[in-house]
């Protein structure tokens, strides 16, 4: 077996999710190559070559791949990937955009968002917003799979010494072009890989009040997330949404503040190690999954929480 892992990166650094995907590839077994496609990705390729368990790093460095347009990348991945038994990447928005297109070009099925590897052709994945867990067997000769990074412990980032090979394959489908982007700027840890996440819901009432959560996050070194209701109401940007249709997180500690606990929200955080809920409604469903529940008005509890944490964390 030979596995092609598509690296997730931003042209300058390798995303940690790639290390989780390599771990999933190791669970399948076989030689693992990593494809780094992008523009000016030398540093990314070097980082990928150091990851534990990687055999070879293939680099496709071209302006056509600079913005990860699915139309161009899928043709590249389908061409490079057809020599492999498995093509894997993380189930982030880039992977979700590209991989079904790759699968269709190869005329094979795609398996989305796996959380476990049972064997080389059998995978476990959540369905119905995590209310059911399916074991599926893929019969195609090439398995195209997206991996939920939080479900696999990452391989070591250092220690490997894979060879790096430049590919001279340029695919520009001419169907799409990049217009612009608005990237959320934050000095806090990345939501998807943070060890502690504190999220606010509709109960926060407005965007300004999220500053209270940011202050707590700064004490804890945490990332800040949100429910869909908070995003919909315009309190915070969309990239902070946790849930079935937002980001999936599984930190050591998840603190839900003013969030009721709809199944779509739970789907994104119920694998967290420890869950804390702060809500003024003692009947809120979030308390059914919380290890520690505090029935309180958040506007009193959060400032106090920050003060208490300040004492123990500093």
């Amino acid at each position: 077996m030979s596995i092609l892992v598509i690296a997730e990166h931003d042209n300058s650094s390798l995303k940690q999710a790639t290390l989780n995907v390599v771990a999933a590839a190791k669970a399948i077994g076989g030689d693992i190559d990593v494809l780094v496609a992008g523009e000016n990705v030398g540093a990314v390729a070097e980082a990928a070559a150091k990851a534990e368990g990687v055999n070879k790093v293939l680099v496709a460095d071209n302006a056509a791949y600079g913005h990860f347009l699915a139309e161009n990348l899928s043709e590249l991945v389908a061409e490079v990937g057809k020599g492999y038994s498995h093509i894997l990447t993380s189930a982030g928005t880039t992977g979700k955009d590209i991989m079904p297109r790759v699968a269709a070009l190869l005329d094979v099925a795609q398996v989305s968002d796996i959380i476990r590897v049972e064997s080389e052709d059998t995978f476990v994945r959540p369905i119905y917003a995590g209310n059911a867990i399916a074991t599926v067997k893929a019969s195609d000769s090439i398995k195209v799979v997206t991996v939920r990074p939080t479900a696999f412990d990452p391989v070591a980032a250092e220690g490997g010494s894979a060879s790096i090979e430049q590919l001279d394959i340029v695919k520009d489908a001419g169907l799409s072009s990049f217009v612009g982007e608005e990237k959320a700027q934050s000095d806090r840890p990345d939501l998807a890989s943070a060890g502690i996440v504190i999220s606010g819901g509709r109960g926060m009432q407005n965007g300004d009040n999220f500053k209270m959560l940011e202050q707590v996050a700064d004490v804890l070194g945490a990332a800040v997330g949100a429910s869909r209701a908070a995003v919909d109401a315009g309190f915070v940007p969309n990239d902070m949404q946790v849930g079935q249709t937002g980001k999936i997180v599984a930190p050591q500690l998840y603190v839900a503040v003013g969030i009721s606990g709809a199944i779509q929200h739970l789907a994104g955080m119920s694998d967290s190690k420890v869950i804390v809920a702060i809500n003024k409604d003692e009947e809120a469903p979030i308390f059914q999954v919380a290890d520690y529940g505090l029935v309180a008005d958040l506007f009193e509890a959060i400032p106090e929480f920050e003060q208490e944490l300040d004492k123990v964390c500093s």
Partner: protein
Amino acid sequence: MKVLVAVKRVIDYNVKVRVKPDNTGVDLANVKMAMNPFCEIAVEEAVRLKEKGVASEIVVVSIGPKASQEQIRTALALGADRGIHIETDEEVQSLEAAKLLKAVVEKEEPKLVILGKQSIDSDNNQTGQMLAALTGMGQGTFASEVVVDGDKVKVTREVDGGLMTVALNLPAVVTTDLRLNEPRYASLPNIMKAKKKPLDSMSPADLGVEIAPRLTTLKVEAPAARQAGIKVADVAELVDKLKNEAKVI
């Protein structure tokens, strides 16, 4: 310009899903079914394009059992003009759905195809991208804004780091994210009118597509339940538990 919208019949998102005791799937007997929420957003977007004079005709298509006609009728009541039902009682996986939709695209030649980004049953998030690949179209996935501009469509996409805007040649495929719009409700007169709108029915074989699933579901289980936790009396107790019991801070 003609707009094609794909809508899927799924379990209503408010229903508490139960896994069958024999682990073959989830219990769908006598549960409320509805249009996939992302497909409602797709229909709404098409209707808004028509109201703006950008779209001239909206064709809505659904693949599934006879009862899927209910969701097509809902879309017609919301403002779609014509329905196509591809009838099958078999499980249709994303690749087959994309092949069937491709056959419809070839017949109807729409300028824009709008799908939901994800079915809330399979949570696949695949069909739109696969359809785009099979038809050689560009794709604007997870759209939060769609602007048709001459022979191009500009799509703002919700991506992990924030928002990204792409321009696609038409015809193109767009898949909807939650914030694209807020779907309206169908009025009673429109529900009545929808009953008279044309709805064609056909089989996958009529479209020359064979249903041959590549994925087999071996079993479906309930997720591991979390141990019920405790309620703490105050913030001081909470911080103490986090530090000394859970040891996570």
